[in-house]
């Protein structure tokens, strides 16, 4: 469970560009250490309030811990150092790679279905349903997931919305232009998969809706995370 005593330090480290994993670990070990010192002092006869304040003093100042962390470049987040690369440029290729990867998976499944399971697959209601779900995943959920991962990763590093916004718009646009279809093979025909990227000027509304939903959901996730961190910060400062 997250304890409030080091919330302010956590925020300072994250905002200073320390990698989230390093921050999480440092805070967890500091909290354990603080508990150990407090127990030691209480066992030595101090009342709980004095034990707490002396335990804080033994931990050293927040400034010293932050300075000691920032003096070690290996603990810093590379994404924080290169936000344009990590959050504007990388998400679209990452989405493209997952799109291709998903198609490779379905192609393997089609191949296995044809070679091992044999006849009548094209008429199987289960596979038809699977195809529809897969199309839903690859055309709608995958771009949204890629954009959501981008915004969540940016929020974890306390990065402003500028570069992630560029990244999620690029993912949204790229995702909205993709298309996918699968025709499961039968005893006499092989499975056919069609996938690609393109736009039809006659049907602009569907891609626009897909792009808008991707961007909108990713922004909602960012706003939700931001609100949650604000509340945690306020709770920490009250505690």
């Amino acid at each position: 469970m997250r304890r409030p005593q080091f919330s302010a330090l956590r925020e300072r480290l994250l905002r200073a560009g320390v990698a989230p994993r390093a921050v999480r670990r440092t805070i967890a070990e500091l909290e354990d250490h603080f508990d150990d010192v407090r127990r030691e002092l209480e066992a030595g006869g101090l009342d709980p309030k004095d034990a707490r304040s002396q335990a804080y003093a033994r931990m050293g100042s927040e400034e010293a811990i932050v300075a000691s962390t920032l003096a070690r470049p290996e603990l810093m987040s590379w994404a924080r150092r290169w936000p344009a690369v990590a959050f504007a440029l990388l998400p679209a290729p990452a989405f493209a790679a997952s799109f291709v990867g998903s198609i490779a998976v379905i192609a393997c499944l089609g191949h296995l279905a044809h070679s091992w399971l044999g006849v009548g697959l094209g008429r199987s209601p289960g596979l038809q349903l699977f195809s529809r779900c897969f199309a839903l995943w690859i055309l709608w959920a995958l771009p949204t997931a890629a954009a959501a991962v981008c915004t969540y990763a940016a929020w974890r590093r306390r990065i402003s919305l500028l570069w992630p916004a560029v990244g999620i718009v690029l993912v949204g646009v790229l995702g909205s232009l993709t298309n996918f279809g699968v025709q499961w093979g039968t005893a006499t025909s092989r499975t056919a998969i069609s996938a690609g990227i393109g736009i039809s000027t006659g049907h602009l509304l569907p891609p626009l809706v897909r792009a808008a939903s991707t961007v909108g959901l990713a922004l909602l996730i960012y706003a939700g995370c931001w609100l949650a961190s604000r509340r945690a910060e306020e709770a920490g400062s009250e505690g």
Binding site: L30, D32, H33, M59, I65
Partner: protein, 112 residues
Amino acid sequence: MGDAKALLMSGVPELLILRLLAEREMYGYELARAVRAVTREAISLGEGVLYPALHSLELSGLLRARRRQVGGRTRVYYNVTAKGRRRLEYLTSHWRRIATAVEAALAGPQHA
């Protein structure tokens, strides 16, 4: 004064950590107590600054960390790797050279 102290202390936490962990593996709180004990509290590091140093040494391959369940709590124990032992040897000889030189300077010039 603060800068001068920081300069003097530069490298000391790393040396102390490697020296103490070379004897046996410890978790952070144990290590902080050991630092206090061996330096007779002459070196007052904020105990919190040990952790960035420990994590950095681990990332550099000088320490190895492992989680252990002790008394219902998970502790992260650190021990020194072979690379860490080599680094400790280097730091120890370096520190002794400096200490000897400073001692000689403080003793005053001795002309033949």
